[in-house]
Symmetry: C2
Subunit: 296 residues, 2 copies
Amino acid sequence: MSDFSSWAARIQARAESTLDALLPPEDVAPARLHAAMRYAILGGGKRVRPLLAHGAGELFGAAAERVDLAAAAVEMIHAYSLIHDDMPCMDDDDLRRGKPSCHKQFDDATALLAGDALQSLAFQTLAQPGLCGDAARQTRMIHLLATASGSRGMAGGQAIDLASVGLNLSQQELEFMHIHKTGALIRAAVLLGAHCADAPDAEKLRAADRYAKNIGLAFQVVDDILDAEADTVTLGKTAGKDAKNNKPTYVTILGLARAREFAAELHADAVADIAPFGDAGRRLTQLADFITGRSF
Amino acid sequence: MSDFSSWAARIQARAESTLDALLPPEDVAPARLHAAMRYAILGGGKRVRPLLAHGAGELFGAAAERVDLAAAAVEMIHAYSLIHDDMPCMDDDDLRRGKPSCHKQFDDATALLAGDALQSLAFQTLAQPGLCGDAARQTRMIHLLATASGSRGMAGGQAIDLASVGLNLSQQELEFMHIHKTGALIRAAVLLGAHCADAPDAEKLRAADRYAKNIGLAFQVVDDILDAEADTVTLGKTAGKDAKNNKPTYVTILGLARAREFAAELHADAVADIAPFGDAGRRLTQLADFITGRSF
């Protein structure tokens, strides 16, 4: 196992146990709601956002115990968005991470509420006393996650995504959508990890932000490539659904070859953003490789 | 116009203009999502939670400008819950505040996202720099609202409500549901208003909390009475839907006469909680009258 793989496995295990501890147990009322929340967030996923939060935490020298909480909050927002995104009135997807999606395993109403409650729990987690030594910075972290999640962040990106079905978007319009839909939360993961440090350097924060923007976009380009290429078993979710749903993707707009080149360019930019910080940026560099090299 | 009515009208106008200013304009992308958010929260509602927040703010001597923001955050959570509650997979209600409910006016996906984004905006609002002089207290306020909104607060109460359809609940079980579904957010409104003060007195906070619990339950008992009695035009939402949906209510469990008595008892307790604080508690006392006397 490479140095990176063992680090990633360790972070993934930390993310799992942090989430397990933060989520109410299934035997606490309302039991079915708690079961649905746990079902949707535990035991799966690559934990890309927690990995990024911890990678940034290491760049800034943040305590890993603080980053665990910030990473869990971001992952809760991500998990809630997947629950709602899979629902019949949205993407209507029966499969998620190789398992029935939340509304298939439970029911639509429970899935709706499980997503809602996971969003609340994200902010409850980020507002925990002592998450950050400086309460004013903690408040700014909450503001950052809320903005990244809302109508001008992730939820807004989903709305643009819905409205784009069947349209011929330009690359610029597609980028606008993804910067919101996926990019905002990836960026929040990196910045929240950084802000867990006691006094994050402003110049370094700007570099981490540029890295996060490049890697967020790269993540989506790669996702589009994988969706176009992979079969359902490898992907763990319904493959080719973008084409099926007549959604514009980087592959439909750029073609497969140019989409791969674009991902490689974004990767190079992200790595360059972090390069000045030497060994402290090692995990973020490896994560850039991991995210863009996932299976090609 | 009575002294109370003119005060309430003033607060309602403040709530409207605060929300109007906090919500992104309709001409900002994604326009349809912003239109749906604004549709669901502006121009209607009794603003019971902002009234309670300001009533508590006056008891504790908080600056009204701060309370405006806390009240808006609570109202956003309330509005998001109504949007989701009306959706086909939940109560499937076409009417809200005398208008088509959000998913009827727009569509299910837009309504789902509008609710999601309103929840994010609530936390973004409460995390605004300077909302509270003391950042550590502000963090606790955010934690309080998140807890009140989540699986052990409002969303949990809705889950219990769903699970109770067709069941014969005891009064105790019904109370457990409503303490979560409606009570948690009413309580948050009062406590957040109080916490906008610079140094809220602990004893007074406990009294305000008792008041909030009594008035939260009274609010629900009265709501059940109104639902059983009123016609759709007066109520501005579909009347008698609890009976139609075979949901247990205070009226089905206690009968109409005893439900009225119970509301009166809760009102008396709430007023007694506030009585020791004299004139500063005037608005909360009037609000107890207003909430329990709504139309009977």
